[in-house]
Structure formats: C-alpha cells, structure tokens
Chain length 357, copies 4
C-alpha cells in the first residue's frame, strides 16, 4: 500500500531518519529523455532550509538514479531513485520516544503497528514527499513532451487569501505566493506565528494546462476522484476542491453550469472535469493544508503507556507546511495526469486498431 | 476501472436506460448473515420518486441476489446483485441525441469514447449509484457485526446551513435534514428553485462511529485519501473535507491540534484521522454537491458536430442531487471502512501468528 | 480475487446450482461491433450435453448482455453478461452435503470458508467457466479486428497422443481432436473409462496466430507467466508448458535456441515468447488436465465431521474434462492477449506522443 | 508491471550492468525480527562464481537495508533493499550492441521498447533475481514464525533424473542435487556441455511444508495459478507442474484422486492443492528450466538492422541456469505463500469479528 497509480505506478520508501528515502517509478514509456538536472531542480524547490519560512533542517536532497535510464533515456524498466539522508543523526529523540505529539501520526502508527520509528515521525514524516517530487519530476518531463504543464502556488496563508492567481509570480516567490500584493502580509503571518511558537495553515492552488479531452476512467478511477485521493494523501491536507468546489454547493444550477460555444466552454466552474473526465479546459483545484502540528507551545498529551503529560516540542519544523507542500501537490498532479494519459490510450477501438496497423 | 476497493472490492455495471444495473461484491467474509430486507430498505432510501424534492421518475429498484449467498449466509464467493430498469422506455431521446447538456458528462464521454449512450446520461447517470447502495448495504451489515455504524444527513442546502447535526432527525426527514430547525427553509429553497426551472446544491455530512484505531494503509491507501476518492467519485461532488477541513487551513496549530488525555482526544478537529490512520474517535467528513446540472432553463451549448444551439432540457430530474446523494455517501463510506478493516488484519506479526496458531 | 487482467479486466460470479452465473468485462475499447451470435456460438461449443463424451446435464447457456453495448457497439463501459441456470434443481444433494468428494475442492472450500455451497461444487464447479467463455468471446472479437487468432484442440487423451496438430480438424471433431487419425482411439478410451465408472485426463494445445512482437510486461506480468496463471487457474489443470516446455529441460542450448534469419525465427522451440515478451512467432502452449475427479467407483473419504466413509458418487459428469476445457483455454488465452495488446500501447514515448498529437 | 503479490507485494528494479539492483517489499507485518544474516546467507546461496558449475562472474551481492526496519524489527513500512553491482564494468559490449543473441530477450526488448540496455541483457538478465532472493528471504523469516518451510533442489539435469528427493542432501550439494546417487553424473553432464561450449537444462523441485489448509483465493488468485505465474516468470522457465502434473493427464480418475482418511490424505497426487486452495498436505511442484541460451558455439542470428550474421558469444555464463534458479524458485514460493497467508485472514466472518473484539 505504498504505491500509487495504475499504468504509471510509483512506490516510495524510507523514513525521516533512516538511511535513505527513495522511489520506484514503473511504466515510464521507453525513449524519454531523462533530464537529471530538472529532477534535481524540482527537489531543490521542495528541499528544506532555504529560508526562514521553512524548517532549519538542512538536507541536500541529492538524488541518484539507480536504474531504468540508459544513455540518458528511459528504457521502459523501473526507474529507481534514492536520496540518502545526511542530516538525520544530530539529535537525541529520547524526549519524544514514548510520547504522542498532538496532531501527529505517532498515536495512530503506534496503535496500528505496535511499534514505531519515533525519530522525526519515521515514515509519516513529510520528508518522504521528496521521493514523490523526484517521481513527479519524471512525470513532468513526460508531460512536457505531450504539451501538458502543471503549475501551482499558494493562494492562502493563515486566512489571508490571494485575490489573483499569478503562477509566474509564484515561481519567483520564496513562499510560492500567487498574489504578490498579498505576499508580505502572508510572510508576516508566518513569522509571527513562528515567533509565538505556533504554526499556520495554508492553501495550494494547482493548475493543469494543456490536458487533452478524455482523461479519467469512469466510474471508479475518475480524474477528479484520483486527484482528490492524491492530494488528500499528502501530509497535513484536510480538504480538496475541484473547480468552484465548496462554492458550487451554494450556487444554482443555472449559475454553476458551464455553457458551451463552438470555441469551447464559456466559464470553468467545473474546473475542467465533467463526469470524472477532462473536458479540455484548464484543470483547477485547491488543496487545504492544516497548520503544522509541530509547535513549541506546551500541549496536553499522553505517553505510549497512556499516562497524561504536558509536553513542549523541540527541534526544527516548518511554520507553514503548505509552502513546501505545494511542490508536492504539483508532483502528485503530474503523476496522476501522466497515468491518465497512458490509461486513456485504449479507449477507442479504431485508435487501438490504428496503433497496431 | 469500474471497480473500487482492495480486499473488499466491488464493481458496478449498467446504464440509466439499459436493461439493468448491478454490482459484484468480492471479498465479503464467509458466514455473514445476509439480511436481504435491509439491502432493499437501503435501496428504498435512495430510490427516486418518493417526494416532490426528487425526480418524478419511478423505479422500484428491486434488488435480486444472483450469487454468493447460500442458505442466507455469504459463502466467501462474489455476491452479484442486479436491479432491472423498469421505467426506462417511456421517452424519446432524439432531442438530446446530438446535444451536449451543459454541466453533464455528455461532452466528455463523447470525446473520450467516440460514441455514447445518450439516453439519460447512460453510464454517467446517477442511476448507477443504486448499485453502490446495494453493495454498501452488505458492507453495513458486516460493519454492524463489528460495532461500526455509518450515518449521514444533509447539513446544507442552497447555502442554508445546519446549526446542529442530529443524525436521528435526519432519519425521519424526507430530505435527510440534520437540523430540523432549518429543514423547512431548506425545503422551500428546493421547491423555489424547482419552480424556477433551476436547481440547488447541497452538502452531505457523514459520521462513522465505532471504527477502531488503526484503519488506513499509509502512505498511498490512507483512510482519508481513500474516503476522498470514494466521495469525489460520486456524481456531482466537487469538494470533500475531513474533520475541520477547509477551516483548518485558517487555524493556528495550537488551535487545530487535538490534545490527548488518557480517556481519549479532547477535541476532534482532525475528524478522527491522523497520518491517514483512524485514531478511534468519530470519523467526520463533509461532501459538497454541485446543483443538479439538469435544469429546464434555456442554456447555450453545442452539438456533437460543434454547432452552437440554445437548448432547454425536458424530463424528470432531482432539483437537489445532494439529497439522494447522501445515501450514496453512506454506502461508499461503509465500503471503504469494511475494506480497511479487512486490510488491517495483517498489520502486526504477533496477531498474524495468533491467527494461525 | 474473482477478477483477472489489468487493462482488460474480467470478473465472474455464480455457482453451479445458484440462480445464475455471469461476468463483467471492463476495459473493452469503445466502438467494437459486438457480435452476439458469435458469443452464443462460443458458449455452444462449451455447453454440456452435446454428446456421449460429455456430462448429460443439459444447459442452454443462453447469454444475455445487460450493459456496455449500445446500438450493437461497445461503449467503453463494463459489459455485463448473465447466464441463468435452468437445469439446476433436479437433484437432491443430501448424499454429498456432508461428504468431501475425493479430488474435489469440497474439502478445501469447507476449511477455508467454514461453510460451502455443496450443490454441484458451488463456486468451484467448472460450470463457472461458461462465464469465462462469454468474456473470452468478446476478447476474440477484439482480436479479430487486430488480426490475431486463438485456436486450440485436444492433443492427448488418456495417454494417446496426437501426432499432428490440425486445428481445422479440431473444429470438426466432437472431442476437438487435433489428429483425426487418433480420434477414434481417443474416443474409445473415453467411453471405456465411462463404462467402467472412471474418467480420463487429457491435454489441450493452444495456438495463437498473428500476435505482434512486444506483448508482455516484464518482469512480473510477463506473457508466459500470465498465460501460465490463466491456464493453471482452469479447473483440473495441473501443468502448463510454453513451446517445448518440459522437453526443453533435457535439451542442450545449441539445440533449444531458435536461430534467427532476416525472414524470422528458423525454429520455434520457445513457443513464441522470449524474456516474457512475444517475438512475433506463433505462441504455443500445452495445458494438462487431470482426469475428472467425479467418478462412480467407490472411494474412501471423510465427512465434514472427519468421520471415515466409503462413497460412490452419483449424478452426471464429464468423463474427460479436458474436452470442454479446451474451449476455456482458448477463452482465457484470448483474454490474456487482448489485455497485453492494450497494456503494450504505452511502451514507447514516441508512439505515445504520436497518439496525442 | 514490475511488482508481484497482493497483500505482501514486492517490486524489483535494476539492470545487470547498471548501478544497482534491489527491491521494495511492502506489507510485511510489523514486529517481525529481521535477521539480516539470514538474508545475506540466502543471497550467498544464489550468488555467482562459487564453483565451476556456475558463471565465473564474481559478485559479493552484499545487501543493504534502506528502510522499514527499526531496532531490528519490521515497522510495517516498506522494506527497501539494495545490492550495488561491483563487477559490471569489466567488459566491452560493442560486439553484442547491435546483435540479437539467440534464445535471449534481446530481440523482444528491442521491438517492444525501441531501445535496450545491451550490457549483459540489462533488465532481462537473471542478475535481477538476486533482488527476488532478498525479498524471499524476508518472506521465509515470516513463514518460519508461522511454521511453514520452503525447500527445493535439483531433480533433473540434462535429462538425468533424481530417483529420490532428499532436501537435506540438496542443502549440502554444490548443485543442490536432490539425489546424491545421481549428483556426479549430473555434474559430469554440466561440465561436458561447458567444455563443448554448450549448456544444459534442468528441473527444480519445490516442497512447501507446514502450509495450513485454506491458502489460495479462488477463482482468479488460486494458489496453484499464482505459483505457476511466479515460477513461469523466472528466467528460462518453460513449464510448471503441480503435484503429479503432466503425469496426471494420462492417469485414470480412480488412480489420480487422493482418498481421504481421518488422519489426512492417503496419497498426494494433487500436490497439496485442490480447487486452487491448499489442503494441508505438502505442496509440491516441478519447475522446468531450458538450457542457458548463452553458449559459445557459433549461431545464426540478425542485427538490429535485420542483417544476417554468424555469431559466437563470449563472456561468463552459467552452463546450467537451473542450479542457481532453484534458489529463486524457493524465494518466489515463499513470497507467494506469505502473501496467501495474509490474504486468507479475512475469509471467515467469525474470525474477523474475533480479531476485532
């Protein structure tokens, strides 16, 4: 259950403070030029320690490709990538060894598995998402060949909402802010919380451009459902909406329907997906991240022996997990779209026949 | 891609106006007493034509079990259930044969598959959800044996929000309203929209009681991610939130974390899931339905030949698809939880050893 | 676990003496002309009661398509087919209710599931294979469009081996004999065993013509491995060999290797598969069926309470299950090849790019 | 398609002459004591260069565990293991770069993927099977806790058949010979072929002791079918038989049926599997390996441009691939049985209820 995807399938492994994390990416078509610099650049976008808005843990996140690439191109065999943990031995974990940190998976892992790797959250740490970003980077390379682009940015921090969605601005922003006019206010909120030993939530907005009509496999591998799965599965995500999402539920049908002209859809309330299948319009979704559960304020909790204790966390943590999380949203979205592109190839008999002629 | 679940896996088939719809449910443990009356009662909760708040299409939705049950008990073999369509031949579809209804899957099915069954939406019709409810009813029977209960109700219609969540009240309400004090206002909104040839959106709230700690398979079959997948895949759903969901993103960590005492969690902002695994608390989610796209107002659209036309739909349609949709949410949630209960059985070696001793 | 295939996936349901058996076939490309007469003709080839070489149970095996076909063509949605059991109520099963028939799955079903449908073997009956033949017929229709043909025949009965493999002769033979010169001897062996209240084993040989190079997904969905899975899963099959199979193990490399010329392979010891991938040559395999375990001689067995009894079976049974089994081999082979054809479509990036251009 | 198993799922990666090979093993129950020395010992049994009966390629095959194990125990998270290739850069491959070696997967990989890693067969090399052995060793550790043992040995080399099956003798034999009385003759045959620049085939016999009744998920994840899949997918395997296998097809039912007494089955023609489910008896199968296709005699073949050439291979190769192959058979069998043990846990409702009480 550590895999995702059907035709393009990736699996990840590794713990926050283990030897290494990594991924296996299976199903990449052969002959794709693998741009290793791009993969590293994507990892660099996500890597920690780049600014005061992120955890102070420093990791180089240097990726090494172990298989599946020959003379610069994919061979159709699984691409294994590994990132060795280099900064994981600096601490003593005895203070959290027997304690469940509130808001964390400590409690649930302990009761599910009976034992847990308590060092930095082990497998449940967001550190694992670096492996997703590596896999997602390969998916992005594949999408680029097919004219599809996945973009994202932060549209809300601590309740401060973007009023415009400028994906180019997000690329330049250290917090990936979509609205440069709100960026300073958002940064201030993050630092203020950080100084108060607290954390803030945020929202990532993802945009997929150039996806052809027809992606998504009804009824139980719909594009929107699989995107929801992919996004909700990212650490700290608590809600996902496609297109107008939550807002749709309070609209009238006459307002929410997207009328159609010969040149395309007049509006895009649907977020580019109808009946679980892409309609050729831009695919849009919002991904809601809760505030980082790792805070330095004292909190009430219990031990593994169910004894009540008061507890204040130490260590290095992101004050707003949504920031680096948006890079993970992009990676997961790219993986989903690439998978759907491959799955869709068998949907019409005459196109199958043409393929084999 | 018409299947869902891993260890308890169901597949559905059928079109709105075809011969029949139905499902296959594979993985039900042997020896479960199958209460056919309960299955039928669940279908009756969802079936159309019960009130003015629903479509006028009348379907008995009588379910027939074809296999997998012997002398009243499951045998461990697949349970096939079929519901014959009885009221599907009453209309002439020539007026929509070549037209894409705005907000519907007509457009995307046509471009994905090249051909489509235009009668009532074919496979993309919400009629298929009756098959999910039949499968979900079996899952509910299984959950009952394990002390788990799935409840739901409508917490918002046309922007009118419930202020309390009374699942017993919902059982008595023809629109499954969770807040009896808001029910009349919500009903009025539905009828007003209906009279104006329009439709309204709504929100279903789902509550799962009695789920043990430990359900959910990290990292890519997490409980929240799979619930999001299951809910987003229901017709007309555009957003899903777990626990405080959207609201979490604007909270501070110190507010959003659920502190823990020896007797359990003090609050339940998380909605009963941490790190993708159930924590033993109540599991709560909200499912947002867009307004029914089938409205009788004139709309702009195009034909399959991409010619622009103005179009007003005829026929029988739910003015608020969320109402009957909430029954489908329950069914899907029950199927997910039952699947997770079975999957979880191999998580600890000493319990596996004990099982085989 | 009642499903097979990845991209073309079928599931079956039903018990020997239940209401009905049937299948769901998911992943058939849209726009395929569905020839219902051909499907019925395939079922007629397998149906019981056609001659003295088969069980006397009469079943019409009339197939009804419930979904997935519209105006004679597949729509890309699941094709559900059902065959109602019409001749299942004629007997009293009290004599075998508590007894494990030697060589049958009675024993193992009972211990696995705790309960079992004892009527005619329930789910473990070869009657279920009719559903495979229906699904396989659709796969054959698809293969025909792509120039692939699946043939088979009986190459051995009771140790009497065919010396030539004439698939046209097999079509005309009531026992599907590949060698007309051995047919009478084989028939005599069947009738002799039948008269002695015994049964005989046999071997089916399957030939796949026209399969393109490149089918099979290494390393764990290889064409030969999946064919072995498909064949070994058929009732009563105990061995599967690809190409020279068993014989290969006693050959030298210089003898067993197939040399290559510009016009193709000089020999076909490999049976058309190298490294788990089709090489463009004919795919050949042999499938070994044990003798029907249902015999009328007295045998030693035990009851469900583990009491020893002597037991002589009554009823109607095939004296040589391989005969009708060969039709099932063809169906399974067709389903595997069709699945592999769809899976292979994403194997090269330039072909994926061309598809979406 | 580089994964195997349902509940215990492993994936492998890597090429013969790439950076590394390795595996991911997902689904190991938490709390299993991971004996790293045992894993290495299993790899040592398969590693090349131990004797004149094997390839002269020297590889240490040192395994490193990257994740999933904490303080010596499995944590329930994926166990990643990597084996770096250390002896892969010694040769110039220009002589085989554009040539298809007869009997190898060169031809099929080239046509499937358009490109191929020609160094030592790349992904299709049997070197990948070291990763299976590592995964299989963990499965064996798990099986040991449950009282199940997987054994194997060589029962035939170059047509010279064992007359007894002594698994203890096989442990002591450098060629894993089951019959010490035939061992010298078998060794001589291998060396003779080697000296003549040729190779020989062989047969591995696998025995599984202690498997409980009830393993196997009918009808499409039957124990025998999955074992056949697992074995046929091993490099160079061309046939698989369960129990009496091929011989069964020439027996009468009265001879082939295993009668039952209160103490168990009187005979074991079935090889411990009835209806795809284990019956509690010993599980037995034979796995037929073709002779190594890598021979040093001159053979006729073509280039990637389809030009005819005569070709004599150079390099280091096993004269009998079955020898080291038998260790791989054991590993795959262990993985299948462990998977089936976990899958079976949800088969009876009362046992599920007991688990959660």
């Amino acid at each position: 259950m550590n895999s995702f995807g059907e035709k393009l399938r990736f699996s990840t492994f590794g713990e926050s403070h283990g030897v290494a994390i990594g991924c296996l990416l299976d199903g990449v078509p052969a002959g794709l030029k693998i741009d290793e610099e791009f993969i590293q650049a994507e990892l660099d976008r996500r890597k920690p320690g780049k600014s005061e808005f992120e955890t102070a843990r420093k990791e180089d996140d240097k990726v090494e490709i172990l298989s599946g690439v020959f003379e610069g191109k994919s061979t159709g065999t699984p691409i294994a990538m590994v990132i060795y943990n280099t900064n994981q031995k600096s601490r003593d974990y005895s203070n959290i060894k027997d304690i469940f940190r509130p808001g964390h998976a400590d409690f649930t892992y302990f009761y599910k598995y009976g034992i847990r790797d308590y060092r930095g959250g082990g497998r449940s740490s967001a550190r694992e998402t670096a492996a997703r970003v590596a896999a997602g980077a390969v998916a992005k390379i594949m999408l680029r060949e097919l004219g599809v682009e996945v973009l994202s940015g932060i549209c809300e921090v601590d309740g401060i909402k973007a009023e415009k969605f400028d994906y180019e601005a997000a690329k330049e922003s250290i917090i990936f802010a979509l609205d440069a006019g709100k960026e300073e206010e958002q940064k201030d909120a993050i630092l203020k919380a950080k100084n108060e030993h607290d954390s803030v939530g945020g929202v990532s907005r993802v945009l997929i451009k150039g996806a052809p009509k027809g992606l998504g496999e009804p009824l139980y591998y719909k594009l929107d459902a699989v995107l929801a799965d992919a996004m909700m599965g990212i650490n700290a995500v608590k809600a996902v909406e496609i297109g107008d999402g939550v807002l749709s539920a309070s609209l009238k049908g006459s307002k929410n329907n997207d009328e159609i002209r010969s040149s395309g859809f007049v509006t895009n309330h649907s977020g580019g997906i109808l009946g679980g299948i892409s309609n050729g319009d831009e695919i849009v979704m919002n991904v809601y991240f809760k505030p980082t559960p790792s805070i330095f304020k004292e909190q009430k909790t219990v031990t593994t022996a169910n004894e009540e204790v008061d507890f204040a966390l130490k260590g290095r943590h992101d004050p707003c997990v949504a920031i680096r999380g948006t890079v993970v949203c992009e990676a997961m979205a790219a993986l989903v779209i690439a998978d759907m592109l491959l799955l869709n190839m068998g949907s019409q008999m005459d196109r199958v026949a043409k393929y084999y002629k």
